[in-house]
Protein backbone atom coordinates (compact mmCIF):
# COMPACT_ATOMS: atom_id res chain seq x y z
CA UNK A 1 0.00 0.00 0.00
CA UNK A 2 1.20 3.47 -0.83
CA UNK A 3 0.12 6.03 1.71
CA UNK A 4 0.46 9.73 1.12
CA UNK A 5 -0.08 12.15 3.98
CA UNK A 6 -0.48 15.92 3.75
CA UNK A 7 1.67 16.17 0.64
CA UNK A 8 2.38 19.66 -0.66
CA UNK A 9 4.66 20.47 -3.55
CA UNK A 10 5.67 23.69 -5.21
CA UNK A 11 7.81 24.43 -8.26
CA UNK A 12 9.24 27.87 -7.64
CA UNK A 13 6.28 29.96 -6.51
CA UNK A 14 3.65 27.78 -8.19
CA UNK A 15 1.90 25.38 -5.87
CA UNK A 16 1.44 22.13 -7.81
CA UNK A 17 0.05 19.76 -5.18
CA UNK A 18 -2.20 20.95 -2.36
CA UNK A 19 -2.33 18.92 0.81
CA UNK A 20 -2.87 15.51 -0.76
CA UNK A 21 -3.78 12.63 1.52
CA UNK A 22 -4.38 9.40 -0.32
CA UNK A 23 -3.89 5.67 -0.14
CA UNK A 24 -3.21 3.49 -3.16
CA UNK A 25 -4.09 -0.16 -2.58
CA UNK A 26 -1.61 -2.98 -3.07
CA UNK A 27 -2.19 -5.66 -5.65
CA UNK A 28 -4.17 -3.61 -8.12
CA UNK A 29 -3.87 -1.43 -11.17
CA UNK A 30 -4.42 2.18 -10.14
CA UNK A 31 -5.02 4.79 -12.84
CA UNK A 32 -4.14 8.44 -12.22
CA UNK A 33 -6.33 10.63 -14.40
CA UNK A 34 -6.97 14.34 -14.72
CA UNK A 35 -6.53 17.29 -17.05
CA UNK A 36 -3.13 18.67 -18.14
CA UNK A 37 -1.31 20.36 -15.32
CA UNK A 38 -3.33 18.62 -12.62
CA UNK A 39 -0.14 17.35 -11.00
CA UNK A 40 -0.34 13.68 -12.04
CA UNK A 41 3.28 13.40 -13.13
CA UNK A 42 4.49 15.38 -10.14
CA UNK A 43 2.65 13.04 -7.79
CA UNK A 44 4.01 9.98 -9.59
CA UNK A 45 7.56 11.37 -9.55
CA UNK A 46 7.33 12.12 -5.84
CA UNK A 47 6.11 8.62 -5.06
CA UNK A 48 8.90 7.22 -7.21
CA UNK A 49 11.55 9.35 -5.43
CA UNK A 50 12.44 11.14 -8.65
CA UNK A 51 11.96 14.47 -6.87
CA UNK A 52 12.44 15.42 -3.23
CA UNK A 53 9.42 15.55 -0.95
CA UNK A 54 9.04 19.16 0.26
CA UNK A 55 6.40 18.66 2.91
CA UNK A 56 4.27 15.69 3.89
CA UNK A 57 5.11 12.02 3.88
CA UNK A 58 4.99 9.23 1.31
CA UNK A 59 5.52 5.60 2.16
CA UNK A 60 5.55 2.59 -0.12
CA UNK A 61 4.60 -0.46 1.93
CA UNK A 62 6.85 0.00 4.97
CA UNK A 63 9.46 2.24 3.31
CA UNK A 64 9.48 6.00 3.74
CA UNK A 65 10.41 7.30 0.29
CA UNK A 66 12.35 10.31 1.61
CA UNK A 67 14.69 8.33 3.86
CA UNK A 68 15.05 4.91 2.23
CA UNK A 69 18.31 4.47 0.26
CA UNK A 70 17.75 4.48 -3.48
CA UNK A 71 19.28 1.03 -3.94
CA UNK A 72 16.63 -0.40 -1.66
CA UNK A 73 13.80 1.54 -3.31
CA UNK A 74 14.92 0.38 -6.75
CA UNK A 75 14.38 -3.22 -5.69
CA UNK A 76 10.85 -2.36 -4.59
CA UNK A 77 9.69 0.02 -7.27
CA UNK A 78 10.40 0.60 -10.98
CA UNK A 79 9.55 3.77 -12.87
CA UNK A 80 8.89 4.61 -16.49
CA UNK A 81 9.12 8.36 -17.04
CA UNK A 82 7.05 10.30 -19.52
CA UNK A 83 10.04 11.34 -21.58
CA UNK A 84 13.39 9.68 -21.58
CA UNK A 85 16.10 11.04 -23.80
CA UNK A 86 19.21 8.96 -23.54
CA UNK A 87 22.48 10.36 -24.77
CA UNK A 88 24.43 7.13 -24.91
CA UNK A 89 24.12 4.97 -27.96
CA UNK A 90 22.31 1.92 -26.69
CA UNK A 91 20.60 -0.99 -28.29
CA UNK A 92 17.15 -2.03 -27.12
CA UNK A 93 18.66 -5.19 -25.64
CA UNK A 94 21.27 -3.19 -23.66
CA UNK A 95 18.60 -0.87 -22.30
CA UNK A 96 16.38 -3.70 -21.11
CA UNK A 97 19.34 -5.40 -19.42
CA UNK A 98 19.91 -2.22 -17.40
CA UNK A 99 16.71 -3.16 -15.59
CA UNK A 100 18.75 -5.79 -13.75
CA UNK A 101 21.18 -3.18 -12.34
CA UNK A 102 19.50 -2.88 -8.91
CA UNK A 103 20.02 -6.61 -8.44
CA UNK A 104 23.23 -7.39 -10.30
CA UNK A 105 25.13 -4.05 -10.17
CA UNK A 106 26.42 -4.52 -13.67
CA UNK A 107 27.45 -8.16 -13.43
CA UNK A 108 24.74 -9.97 -15.31
CA UNK A 109 24.16 -13.59 -14.44
CA UNK A 110 22.51 -16.01 -16.88
CA UNK A 111 19.38 -15.60 -14.75
CA UNK A 112 19.46 -11.81 -15.30
CA UNK A 113 19.87 -12.30 -19.04
CA UNK A 114 17.00 -14.76 -19.12
CA UNK A 115 14.70 -12.25 -17.43
CA UNK A 116 15.77 -9.52 -19.84
CA UNK A 117 15.19 -11.70 -22.89
CA UNK A 118 11.81 -12.74 -21.50
CA UNK A 119 10.90 -9.05 -21.17
CA UNK A 120 11.89 -8.46 -24.79
CA UNK A 121 9.53 -11.25 -25.80
CA UNK A 122 6.66 -10.02 -23.63
CA UNK A 123 6.82 -6.53 -25.10
CA UNK A 124 7.27 -7.69 -28.68
CA UNK A 125 10.83 -6.35 -28.93
CA UNK A 126 12.87 -9.46 -29.65
CA UNK A 127 13.30 -8.54 -33.31
CA UNK A 128 14.44 -5.05 -32.33
CA UNK A 129 16.89 -6.04 -29.62
CA UNK A 130 19.96 -5.19 -31.71
CA UNK A 131 18.60 -1.92 -33.02
CA UNK A 132 19.81 1.35 -31.53
CA UNK A 133 17.36 3.46 -29.55
CA UNK A 134 17.78 6.41 -31.91
CA UNK A 135 16.89 4.22 -34.88
CA UNK A 136 13.48 3.02 -33.75
CA UNK A 137 10.11 4.73 -33.51
CA UNK A 138 8.79 6.59 -30.49
CA UNK A 139 6.32 3.83 -29.68
CA UNK A 140 8.96 1.13 -29.90
CA UNK A 141 11.22 3.17 -27.62
CA UNK A 142 8.35 3.60 -25.18
CA UNK A 143 7.90 -0.17 -25.09
CA UNK A 144 11.64 -0.65 -24.55
CA UNK A 145 11.49 1.56 -21.45
CA UNK A 146 8.49 -0.35 -20.12
CA UNK A 147 10.38 -3.59 -20.76
CA UNK A 148 13.35 -2.24 -18.78
CA UNK A 149 11.12 -1.43 -15.80
CA UNK A 150 9.48 -4.85 -16.12
CA UNK A 151 12.94 -6.44 -16.01
CA UNK A 152 13.53 -4.79 -12.65
CA UNK A 153 10.94 -7.26 -11.29
CA UNK A 154 9.69 -5.05 -8.52
CA UNK A 155 6.51 -5.26 -6.47
CA UNK A 156 5.52 -1.80 -7.62
CA UNK A 157 5.56 -0.45 -11.14
CA UNK A 158 4.96 3.24 -11.79
CA UNK A 159 4.26 4.35 -15.36
CA UNK A 160 3.81 7.90 -16.59
CA UNK A 161 1.62 7.87 -19.70
CA UNK A 162 3.08 4.67 -21.15
CA UNK A 163 0.47 4.64 -23.91
CA UNK A 164 1.95 7.75 -25.55
CA UNK A 165 2.95 6.94 -29.12
CA UNK A 166 1.61 3.39 -28.95
CA UNK A 167 -0.63 2.04 -31.69
CA UNK A 168 -3.92 0.33 -30.83
CA UNK A 169 -2.51 -3.19 -30.82
CA UNK A 170 0.47 -2.34 -28.62
CA UNK A 171 -1.54 -0.10 -26.27
CA UNK A 172 -4.01 -2.89 -25.74
CA UNK A 173 -1.22 -5.44 -25.43
CA UNK A 174 0.59 -3.32 -22.84
CA UNK A 175 -2.52 -2.77 -20.72
CA UNK A 176 -3.37 -6.47 -20.95
CA UNK A 177 0.16 -7.39 -19.86
CA UNK A 178 -0.01 -4.97 -16.92
CA UNK A 179 -3.38 -6.42 -15.88
CA UNK A 180 -1.87 -9.91 -16.10
CA UNK A 181 1.06 -8.86 -13.86
CA UNK A 182 -1.42 -7.63 -11.27
CA UNK A 183 -3.61 -10.70 -11.49
CA UNK A 184 -1.05 -13.50 -11.80
CA UNK A 185 2.10 -12.12 -10.18
CA UNK A 186 0.42 -9.99 -7.55
CA UNK A 187 2.27 -6.84 -8.60
CA UNK A 188 0.91 -3.37 -7.93
CA UNK A 189 0.84 -0.79 -10.69
CA UNK A 190 0.24 2.95 -10.73
CA UNK A 191 -0.26 4.38 -14.17
CA UNK A 192 -0.94 7.90 -15.45
CA UNK A 193 -3.52 7.61 -18.23
CA UNK A 194 -5.13 10.08 -20.59
CA UNK A 195 -7.26 7.51 -22.36
CA UNK A 196 -10.31 7.20 -20.13
CA UNK A 197 -11.54 4.08 -21.92
CA UNK A 198 -8.34 2.26 -21.03
CA UNK A 199 -8.81 3.41 -17.45
CA UNK A 200 -12.39 2.15 -17.44
CA UNK A 201 -11.45 -1.14 -19.09
CA UNK A 202 -8.39 -2.13 -17.06
CA UNK A 203 -8.05 -0.19 -13.83
CA UNK A 204 -9.05 -1.61 -10.45
CA UNK A 205 -8.86 1.78 -8.83
CA UNK A 206 -8.98 5.33 -10.17
CA UNK A 207 -7.57 8.49 -8.65
CA UNK A 208 -8.58 11.76 -10.32
CA UNK A 209 -6.50 14.87 -9.75
CA UNK A 210 -7.66 18.38 -10.51
CA UNK A 211 -5.46 21.45 -9.98
CA UNK A 212 -3.28 19.68 -7.45
CA UNK A 213 -6.10 18.22 -5.37
CA UNK A 214 -7.74 14.81 -5.35
CA UNK A 215 -11.08 15.29 -7.15
CA UNK A 216 -12.33 11.76 -6.54
CA UNK A 217 -11.05 8.23 -6.15
CA UNK A 218 -12.54 4.76 -6.07
CA UNK A 219 -13.57 1.81 -8.24
CA UNK A 220 -13.89 2.83 -11.91
CA UNK A 221 -17.49 1.63 -12.24
CA UNK A 222 -18.57 3.85 -9.41
CA UNK A 223 -16.52 7.00 -9.86
CA UNK A 224 -16.24 7.32 -13.65
CA UNK A 225 -19.63 8.94 -14.11
CA UNK A 226 -20.59 11.40 -16.80
CA UNK A 227 -21.08 14.24 -14.33
CA UNK A 228 -17.83 13.67 -12.43
CA UNK A 229 -15.78 13.39 -15.63
CA UNK A 230 -17.46 16.40 -17.27
CA UNK A 231 -16.62 18.50 -14.24
CA UNK A 232 -13.10 17.14 -14.01
CA UNK A 233 -12.16 17.86 -17.62
CA UNK A 234 -14.49 20.85 -18.02
CA UNK A 235 -15.88 19.34 -21.23
CA UNK A 236 -19.07 17.45 -22.07
CA UNK A 237 -18.43 13.73 -21.52
CA UNK A 238 -20.97 10.88 -21.81
CA UNK A 239 -20.74 7.34 -20.57
CA UNK A 240 -22.56 4.38 -22.09
CA UNK A 241 -22.70 0.70 -21.34
CA UNK A 242 -21.95 -1.44 -24.38
CA UNK A 243 -21.88 -5.23 -23.95
CA UNK A 244 -21.58 -4.77 -20.21
CA UNK A 245 -18.55 -2.45 -20.47
CA UNK A 246 -18.40 1.20 -19.66
CA UNK A 247 -17.52 3.29 -22.72
CA UNK A 248 -16.67 6.96 -22.40
CA UNK A 249 -17.46 9.31 -25.27
CA UNK A 250 -16.00 12.77 -25.48
CA UNK A 251 -14.99 13.35 -29.09
CA UNK A 252 -17.76 15.79 -30.16
Amino acid sequence: MISIEALNHAAGTTQILHDITLTIPRGGLTALIGPNGAGKSTLLNLIAAQADVQSGRISVDDLDVATTPRTQLAQRMAVVAQRSDIASRLTVGDLVEFGRWPHSKGRLTPYDRAIASHALEVFDLTNLSHRFLDEISGGQRQRAFVAMAYTQQTDWLMLDEPLNNLDIRHARGLMGELARLVREENRSIVIVLHDLNHAAAWADHVVALDAGRVAFSGAPDQVLTAEALSTLYNAPIQTHMIDGRKVILHHR
Binding site: A81, I86, P102, K105
Partner: protein
Amino acid sequence: MPNMRIVLLAVLLVIFSATFLIWGLSGRIWFILELRAVKLSALIVVGCAVGVSTVLFQTISGNRILTPSIMGFDALFILIQTMLVFMLGGFGYTQLPQLAVFGGEIAAMVLASLALFTLIHRRSRHDLQMLILVGVIFGLMFRSMASFLQRVMDPSEFAVVQGAMFASFGGIDRVELLLAGTTIMLLSVGILRWASLCDVVALGRGPAQSLGVNYNAVERRLLIVITVLVSCATALVGPITFLGLLAASLAHALMRTHRHILLLPAAAMIAAIILVAGQALFERVLGLQSTLAVVVEFAGGVLFLILLIQGKIR
Protein backbone atom coordinates in the same frame (compact mmCIF):
# COMPACT_ATOMS: atom_id res chain seq x y z
CA MET B 1 34.91 -7.83 -30.68
CA PRO B 2 35.55 -4.62 -28.74
CA ASN B 3 38.22 -6.27 -26.60
CA MET B 4 40.33 -6.91 -29.68
CA ARG B 5 40.13 -3.21 -30.43
CA ILE B 6 41.49 -2.37 -26.99
CA VAL B 7 44.39 -4.73 -27.66
CA LEU B 8 44.90 -3.11 -31.05
CA LEU B 9 45.07 0.32 -29.42
CA ALA B 10 47.56 -0.93 -26.85
CA VAL B 11 49.75 -2.39 -29.60
CA LEU B 12 49.54 0.87 -31.55
CA LEU B 13 50.51 2.84 -28.46
CA VAL B 14 53.54 0.59 -27.90
CA ILE B 15 54.61 0.91 -31.53
CA PHE B 16 54.29 4.69 -31.51
CA SER B 17 56.09 4.94 -28.18
CA ALA B 18 58.97 2.78 -29.39
CA THR B 19 59.22 4.80 -32.59
CA PHE B 20 59.24 7.99 -30.56
CA LEU B 21 62.06 6.66 -28.40
CA ILE B 22 64.38 5.34 -31.09
CA TRP B 23 63.65 7.54 -34.11
CA GLY B 24 66.88 9.24 -35.22
CA LEU B 25 68.80 8.09 -32.18
CA SER B 26 72.50 8.95 -32.35
CA GLY B 27 75.28 10.40 -30.26
CA ARG B 28 74.92 10.05 -26.48
CA ILE B 29 72.26 7.36 -26.72
CA TRP B 30 71.48 6.83 -23.04
CA PHE B 31 71.26 10.51 -22.28
CA ILE B 32 68.86 11.10 -25.15
CA LEU B 33 66.83 8.01 -24.33
CA GLU B 34 66.37 9.20 -20.78
CA LEU B 35 65.18 12.63 -21.93
CA ARG B 36 62.81 11.03 -24.38
CA ALA B 37 61.50 8.59 -21.79
CA VAL B 38 60.55 11.46 -19.49
CA LYS B 39 58.80 13.23 -22.35
CA LEU B 40 57.06 10.02 -23.43
CA SER B 41 55.77 9.38 -19.90
CA ALA B 42 54.41 12.92 -19.75
CA LEU B 43 52.69 12.48 -23.13
CA ILE B 44 51.08 9.24 -21.99
CA VAL B 45 49.84 10.42 -18.57
CA VAL B 46 48.51 13.66 -20.04
CA GLY B 47 46.76 11.72 -22.82
CA CYS B 48 45.28 9.46 -20.19
CA ALA B 49 44.01 12.38 -18.08
CA VAL B 50 42.52 14.14 -21.09
CA GLY B 51 40.83 11.04 -22.52
CA VAL B 52 39.36 9.82 -19.24
CA SER B 53 38.22 13.24 -18.03
CA THR B 54 36.49 14.06 -21.31
CA VAL B 55 34.60 10.76 -21.49
CA LEU B 56 33.48 11.19 -17.87
CA PHE B 57 32.45 14.80 -18.45
CA GLN B 58 30.43 13.84 -21.51
CA THR B 59 28.79 11.06 -19.52
CA ILE B 60 27.58 13.27 -16.67
CA SER B 61 26.60 16.13 -18.97
CA GLY B 62 24.85 13.77 -21.38
CA ASN B 63 26.46 15.71 -24.20
CA ARG B 64 28.93 14.41 -26.75
CA ILE B 65 30.34 17.76 -27.82
CA LEU B 66 31.47 19.11 -24.45
CA THR B 67 34.90 18.83 -22.87
CA PRO B 68 35.96 19.87 -19.37
CA SER B 69 37.78 22.83 -20.94
CA ILE B 70 34.41 24.56 -21.28
CA MET B 71 34.51 24.99 -17.51
CA GLY B 72 37.40 27.42 -17.85
CA PHE B 73 40.28 25.35 -16.43
CA ASP B 74 42.64 26.57 -19.13
CA ALA B 75 41.58 30.15 -18.54
CA LEU B 76 42.23 29.92 -14.81
CA PHE B 77 45.63 28.36 -15.45
CA ILE B 78 46.60 31.13 -17.86
CA LEU B 79 45.31 33.77 -15.45
CA ILE B 80 47.44 32.35 -12.63
CA GLN B 81 50.54 32.36 -14.87
CA THR B 82 49.84 35.88 -16.07
CA MET B 83 49.28 37.23 -12.57
CA LEU B 84 52.47 35.63 -11.29
CA VAL B 85 54.51 37.16 -14.10
CA PHE B 86 52.71 40.49 -13.73
CA MET B 87 53.38 40.71 -10.01
CA LEU B 88 56.87 39.23 -9.88
CA GLY B 89 58.20 40.24 -13.26
CA GLY B 90 59.66 37.85 -15.83
CA PHE B 91 62.83 37.29 -13.85
CA GLY B 92 61.06 36.84 -10.51
CA TYR B 93 58.72 34.34 -12.14
CA THR B 94 61.57 32.17 -13.35
CA GLN B 95 63.10 32.28 -9.84
CA LEU B 96 59.97 30.87 -8.17
CA PRO B 97 60.28 27.38 -6.67
CA GLN B 98 58.75 25.35 -9.49
CA LEU B 99 57.25 22.67 -7.32
CA ALA B 100 55.42 25.21 -5.17
CA VAL B 101 53.97 26.88 -8.27
CA PHE B 102 52.94 23.49 -9.59
CA GLY B 103 51.24 22.52 -6.33
CA GLY B 104 49.67 25.94 -6.03
CA GLU B 105 48.21 25.74 -9.54
CA ILE B 106 46.64 22.35 -8.91
CA ALA B 107 45.26 23.52 -5.56
CA ALA B 108 43.85 26.72 -7.09
CA MET B 109 42.13 24.87 -9.93
CA VAL B 110 40.68 22.16 -7.68
CA LEU B 111 39.53 24.65 -5.04
CA ALA B 112 37.98 26.99 -7.59
CA SER B 113 36.01 24.12 -9.14
CA LEU B 114 34.91 22.77 -5.76
CA ALA B 115 33.73 26.23 -4.75
CA LEU B 116 31.78 26.43 -7.99
CA PHE B 117 30.18 22.99 -7.54
CA THR B 118 29.20 23.70 -3.94
CA LEU B 119 27.75 27.08 -4.82
CA ILE B 120 25.67 25.70 -7.69
CA HIS B 121 24.54 22.62 -5.80
CA ARG B 122 23.33 24.73 -2.93
CA ARG B 123 21.57 27.34 -5.07
CA SER B 124 19.82 25.21 -7.66
CA ARG B 125 20.10 21.52 -7.14
CA HIS B 126 20.15 19.00 -9.99
CA ASP B 127 21.37 21.47 -12.52
CA LEU B 128 24.55 20.58 -14.31
CA GLN B 129 23.61 22.83 -17.24
CA MET B 130 23.69 25.77 -14.84
CA LEU B 131 27.08 24.65 -13.53
CA ILE B 132 28.46 24.51 -17.06
CA LEU B 133 27.03 27.92 -17.90
CA VAL B 134 28.57 29.50 -14.81
CA GLY B 135 31.85 27.75 -15.67
CA VAL B 136 31.76 29.26 -19.15
CA ILE B 137 31.15 32.72 -17.72
CA PHE B 138 33.97 32.41 -15.18
CA GLY B 139 36.23 31.11 -17.96
CA LEU B 140 35.46 34.19 -20.03
CA MET B 141 36.09 36.43 -17.05
CA PHE B 142 39.44 34.77 -16.29
CA ARG B 143 40.42 35.02 -19.94
CA SER B 144 39.52 38.71 -20.14
CA MET B 145 41.41 39.49 -16.95
CA ALA B 146 44.44 37.59 -18.22
CA SER B 147 44.37 39.32 -21.58
CA PHE B 148 44.00 42.71 -19.89
CA LEU B 149 47.07 42.04 -17.76
CA GLN B 150 48.95 40.77 -20.81
CA ARG B 151 48.09 44.00 -22.66
CA VAL B 152 49.49 46.26 -19.98
CA MET B 153 52.59 44.22 -19.18
CA ASP B 154 56.09 44.65 -20.52
CA PRO B 155 56.56 42.91 -23.93
CA SER B 156 59.49 40.85 -22.69
CA GLU B 157 57.44 39.65 -19.74
CA PHE B 158 54.57 38.89 -22.11
CA ALA B 159 56.93 36.54 -23.96
CA VAL B 160 57.35 34.61 -20.70
CA VAL B 161 53.56 34.30 -20.31
CA GLN B 162 53.17 33.29 -23.92
CA GLY B 163 55.49 30.37 -23.28
CA ALA B 164 53.04 29.09 -20.68
CA MET B 165 49.93 29.59 -22.80
CA PHE B 166 50.48 26.59 -25.04
CA ALA B 167 50.99 23.03 -23.95
CA SER B 168 54.64 22.10 -24.08
CA PHE B 169 56.34 18.82 -23.31
CA GLY B 170 59.83 20.27 -23.37
CA GLY B 171 61.64 20.60 -20.07
CA ILE B 172 59.24 18.57 -17.93
CA ASP B 173 60.24 18.56 -14.28
CA ARG B 174 60.72 14.98 -13.09
CA VAL B 175 59.30 15.45 -9.62
CA GLU B 176 56.22 17.14 -11.07
CA LEU B 177 55.87 14.32 -13.57
CA LEU B 178 56.07 11.75 -10.79
CA LEU B 179 53.44 13.52 -8.67
CA ALA B 180 51.00 14.35 -11.46
CA GLY B 181 51.60 11.06 -13.24
CA THR B 182 50.95 8.97 -10.14
CA THR B 183 47.77 10.87 -9.33
CA ILE B 184 46.48 10.62 -12.89
CA MET B 185 47.26 6.92 -13.24
CA LEU B 186 45.75 6.04 -9.85
CA LEU B 187 42.54 7.94 -10.62
CA SER B 188 42.28 6.61 -14.17
CA VAL B 189 42.70 3.01 -13.10
CA GLY B 190 40.58 3.48 -9.98
CA ILE B 191 37.69 4.93 -11.97
CA LEU B 192 37.41 1.63 -13.86
CA ARG B 193 35.87 0.19 -10.70
CA TRP B 194 32.99 2.58 -11.32
CA ALA B 195 32.80 1.78 -15.01
CA SER B 196 29.45 0.03 -14.84
CA LEU B 197 28.09 2.74 -12.54
CA CYS B 198 29.10 5.24 -15.23
CA ASP B 199 27.12 3.19 -17.76
CA VAL B 200 24.00 3.74 -15.65
CA VAL B 201 24.78 7.44 -15.06
CA ALA B 202 24.98 7.84 -18.86
CA LEU B 203 21.28 6.91 -19.02
CA GLY B 204 20.53 10.28 -17.43
CA ARG B 205 19.31 11.40 -14.02
CA GLY B 206 15.78 9.96 -14.14
CA PRO B 207 16.52 6.45 -15.36
CA ALA B 208 19.68 6.20 -13.22
CA GLN B 209 17.79 7.21 -10.08
CA SER B 210 15.01 4.78 -10.77
CA LEU B 211 17.65 2.06 -11.03
CA GLY B 212 18.81 2.94 -7.54
CA VAL B 213 21.79 5.20 -8.25
CA ASN B 214 22.33 8.06 -5.82
CA TYR B 215 22.84 10.39 -8.77
CA ASN B 216 23.80 13.58 -6.92
CA ALA B 217 26.55 11.89 -4.94
CA VAL B 218 27.95 10.07 -7.98
CA GLU B 219 27.81 13.22 -10.10
CA ARG B 220 29.71 15.19 -7.47
CA ARG B 221 32.38 12.52 -7.15
CA LEU B 222 32.84 12.26 -10.89
CA LEU B 223 33.17 16.04 -11.14
CA ILE B 224 35.90 15.97 -8.51
CA VAL B 225 37.75 13.20 -10.36
CA ILE B 226 37.48 15.18 -13.61
CA THR B 227 38.75 18.34 -11.92
CA VAL B 228 41.78 16.64 -10.40
CA LEU B 229 42.67 14.92 -13.69
CA VAL B 230 42.42 18.12 -15.73
CA SER B 231 44.25 20.19 -13.12
CA CYS B 232 47.16 17.75 -12.91
CA ALA B 233 47.51 17.56 -16.69
CA THR B 234 47.25 21.33 -17.13
CA ALA B 235 49.71 22.14 -14.36
CA LEU B 236 52.17 19.65 -15.81
CA VAL B 237 52.24 20.75 -19.46
CA GLY B 238 49.84 23.66 -19.92
CA PRO B 239 46.38 23.92 -21.50
CA ILE B 240 45.76 20.72 -23.44
CA THR B 241 42.06 19.95 -23.23
CA PHE B 242 41.55 20.60 -26.96
CA LEU B 243 42.47 16.98 -27.44
CA GLY B 244 39.60 15.62 -25.35
CA LEU B 245 36.79 16.03 -27.86
CA LEU B 246 38.80 14.26 -30.52
CA ALA B 247 39.83 11.36 -28.28
CA ALA B 248 36.32 10.83 -26.89
CA SER B 249 34.68 10.93 -30.34
CA LEU B 250 37.22 8.53 -31.76
CA ALA B 251 36.78 6.22 -28.76
CA HIS B 252 33.01 6.15 -29.27
CA ALA B 253 33.42 5.62 -33.01
CA LEU B 254 35.95 2.84 -32.62
CA MET B 255 34.44 0.95 -29.69
CA ARG B 256 30.76 1.31 -30.66
CA THR B 257 29.65 0.52 -27.14
CA HIS B 258 28.15 2.34 -24.19
CA ARG B 259 30.33 0.43 -21.71
CA HIS B 260 32.80 2.62 -19.87
CA ILE B 261 35.04 -0.31 -19.00
CA LEU B 262 35.98 -0.20 -22.72
CA LEU B 263 35.40 3.47 -23.52
CA LEU B 264 37.63 4.89 -20.77
CA PRO B 265 40.80 2.92 -21.63
CA ALA B 266 40.14 3.44 -25.34
CA ALA B 267 39.85 7.23 -24.98
CA ALA B 268 42.95 7.33 -22.76
CA MET B 269 45.02 5.33 -25.25
CA ILE B 270 43.73 7.23 -28.28
CA ALA B 271 44.64 10.56 -26.66
CA ALA B 272 48.08 9.20 -25.75
CA ILE B 273 48.66 7.88 -29.28
CA ILE B 274 47.66 11.23 -30.81
CA LEU B 275 49.99 13.11 -28.44
CA VAL B 276 52.95 10.79 -29.00
CA ALA B 277 52.48 10.83 -32.78
CA GLY B 278 51.93 14.59 -32.77
CA GLN B 279 55.00 15.26 -30.67
CA ALA B 280 57.14 13.00 -32.88
CA LEU B 281 55.91 14.81 -35.96
CA PHE B 282 56.41 18.18 -34.31
CA GLU B 283 59.96 17.43 -33.20
CA ARG B 284 61.40 15.36 -36.03
CA VAL B 285 59.49 16.47 -39.13
CA LEU B 286 58.51 20.06 -38.40
CA GLY B 287 61.73 20.73 -36.51
CA LEU B 288 59.98 22.30 -33.49
CA GLN B 289 58.33 24.94 -35.66
CA SER B 290 54.74 25.92 -34.62
CA THR B 291 53.31 24.19 -31.53
CA LEU B 292 52.12 20.72 -30.63
CA ALA B 293 48.58 22.11 -30.35
CA VAL B 294 48.65 23.15 -33.98
CA VAL B 295 49.89 19.73 -35.09
CA VAL B 296 47.33 17.83 -33.01
CA GLU B 297 44.44 20.08 -33.88
CA PHE B 298 45.23 20.09 -37.59
CA ALA B 299 45.90 16.38 -38.01
CA GLY B 300 43.20 15.42 -35.48
CA GLY B 301 40.69 17.82 -36.96
CA VAL B 302 41.18 16.40 -40.45
CA LEU B 303 40.80 12.85 -39.14
CA PHE B 304 37.67 13.89 -37.22
CA LEU B 305 36.10 15.43 -40.33
CA ILE B 306 36.91 12.39 -42.47
CA LEU B 307 35.26 10.08 -39.94
CA LEU B 308 32.29 12.42 -39.62
CA ILE B 309 31.79 12.47 -43.40
CA GLN B 310 32.07 8.69 -43.57
CA GLY B 311 29.40 8.46 -40.88
CA LYS B 312 31.68 6.68 -38.43
CA ILE B 313 31.11 9.30 -35.75
CA ARG B 314 27.59 9.92 -34.58
